[in-house]
Amino acid sequence: MKKFISFINKNRSSVIIVIIGLLIRLMFIPITLYVDLLSATFRQYLFVQDGIFRLSNLQELILSGYLHLFNDHLFLIPQTISNFRPQGDHQIFTNALGAVDIFAKSNLSMRTLFVLKFPYLIFELAATFVLLKIYDDRLKNIWLILLWWLNPILIYAVYAWGRYDIIPLLLVLVSIYFAKKDKVWYSFIFLGFAIACRDVYLIILPLYLIYFYKNKHSLISQILVVYLPIYAIDKLFAFLKNFEPNISSSLYILSASYSNSIDYVLYTTISTNDSKIAPLFFIIPLIYLYFLSKKKKNFDLLVKFSTAVFVVFLVLSRIHPHYMIWLMPFLILAIADNKKFLYSYLVFVVAFFCYFALAFSIRTNITMFLPVNYDLFINVGSLWEKMLISYRSENLILISRTLYVFTAGVMLWFLIFQRNKK
C-alpha cells in the first residue's frame, strides 16, 4: 500500500491524465457503433462458435481468444447473426451494414459494445507501459502520457470507430523500444508481427535496415527475421482455413494474414493532359535516401524519419480516418523529443477532423451514435451538414484538404530539416 501511495504521489500528474483519458474513452465505448466492428466480431464468432475460419487478419485472431472467454455474455451477437443465417445470407460476415439496424435497436447494444471494446483499453495500458520504458527522462514521459492518453485521433479511431489497430500499434511500439535498446533481432521480429497485422508498416522497414546496417550478411538476416513472423502467420492462416469442417453455405470471405491497404496509395496524383504521376512513389524513396545520406544516425533520427514517411503516406494516399493512428507512435515520440512539432500537430489534428468530417465520414459520424438514441440519429443529419447547405461543400473540402496537406508539409519540414536545440 505504501509503495502504491508513493507511486501515485510521484506520478500524480501522469495518473490524473490517464484517468481523464480513461473517462473520455469510457464515454465513447458504449455509445458509438461502426459497421466494421460488427463484421469483425461476426467473423470471430463464426470461428469461436462454429470453427469456420474466415478471419481477415492477425488482430481478429487475437481478439477471437477474448471472444471465446466472453462468448456466453454476448447474447446480442448470435441474436443478430441468427436474423441472417436462416436465409443463407452470409454477407454480414464481410459487411455488416444490414445488421447495424438490428444491433443498434437492441437494449443490450451498449453492454455488448462495452464488452467488445474493452480489450482495447488493456492493449492501450500495455502500450503506455512500453512507451514509458523508451525514454528515461521524467518530463518526456509526462509528455508521452499526455500525448497518448488525450490524443483525439487515437480516441476517435479506436473507441468511436471501434477499430483494432491498437494491436499493431502496440507491436510497433515494442519494436521501437527494442530499437532504442539496440536489441536488433527483437526489434525486427516485432516489426514483422506489426507488418503481419498491417502491411503498411512495411514502409518503415527500409529505415530500420538503414539504421541497423552493418554489412550485407546482417542485412539479409534482418530481412529474413522480419519475414519470419509474416510467413509463420500466413502458414497458420492457411492451416486453420484447411482445418475447418465442410462448409455448405455461400461463405466466400477470403482470409489473409495482412490487409490490402497498399491499394490506396495511388489516390493522389499530379496529372497532365497525357499522364499521371503518383508523388508518393518518389517522395518516400527520397526520404529513405536522405536518411541514408545522414552520417550520424541515432534513435531520434529514426523516429523522426519514420514519422516523416508516415506523414507523407497518410496525406498522399486514400485513407479511412482511423488509419491516421498508424502514425501516432512515431509522432508522439517525435513531439516528446522536440516540442516544435506540437503546434503544427495541433493544426494538423484540427484540419484532419474538418477534412474527414466534410469529405468522408459526415454520415458515419452521425449514425455512429445510433445505440444511444436510435430515433434521433437515424433521422437527422449533423449541425455541420446544415451549415453545408449554405456554404458550398466542395469549397470547404478543398480548403480543409489544403490546410491538412499544408500542415503535414510544415511537420515534414520540421521533422527532416530542423535540428533539435538541446
Binding site: 490524473i16 447495424v100 437494449n107 443490450l108 451498449m110 454520415r363 433521422n379 443529419g381 449541425l383
Partner: protein
Amino acid sequence: MMKINWIKFWLVVLLAILFSCSHFLIKDLSVQLIAKNIDEFGISDLEIVPNKQEPLTQKGAVVDFSFVPKRDDVSGVILYGRKHKYLFGENLATLTMKINYQKENGENFYLENIIPVSSLRGTIFSINFQPLLDCKDRTVNIEIIANQNLEEATGLAIYNQGIETTPKILYEINLEEELKISYENIKNDRYFFYFYFGLISLLLLAVISLFVIDPKPIDV
C-alpha cells in the same frame, strides 16, 4: 496525513456548480437539423413527392409537394432555385405557404403563412414555420403560391434531380428532451447502467481526489 488544497477544492465545487447550471442552459435550447436519407444503411426513406411545379412569375402560380416525415416537429423546408436566379419582385411582394395534413386522431391541421419575397434572396430558400405536432408518418402537403406577378421568378426545384435540387426537411430538436431519451435508453439495461455509472463515478472521484489532495512531501 492528507492535506486538502482548499483553492483546488473550491475550484472543483465551482466547476460542479457550473456543470449543474448547464442543465438550465439547454433546458429550452432547440436546434434545427436536416432530415436524412441514409441510403447505404437502407433504414430510412424520406421521399418528397412533387405534385406541381410552376414558375412563380404569374399571380396564382403554385409549387406543391408532399412528404411523410419520420419524426414530429417538422419546422422548415429548404428548397433550391431551379434556374439559379433570384426571386425578383417589388419589395413588398409576398408568397403564401399553405401546409396541411391529417393528424392521427383524424383532426385536420391547416397552417397558412405569408412569406416576404425579400427574405428569399439567393438560390437556396430556407422557409421556417412553427413546429408541426403529431405529423410523424402522416402525409404533409406544402403549397407555395405567388400572390402577385413577379419580374423574374424561379420555379423552386422539387423534382429529384440529384442531391442539389432535392428539397430538404428540417426538424426542430429539443436538446433536453433528446438527452432524456438517451438517458432512458441507457437505463433500459439496468445492470449495465449501474455498472457503467458506478465505474464513471469511481474514476471521477479518483481524479478529483488526486487533484484536490496535495501530495505528502517526500522526507529528505
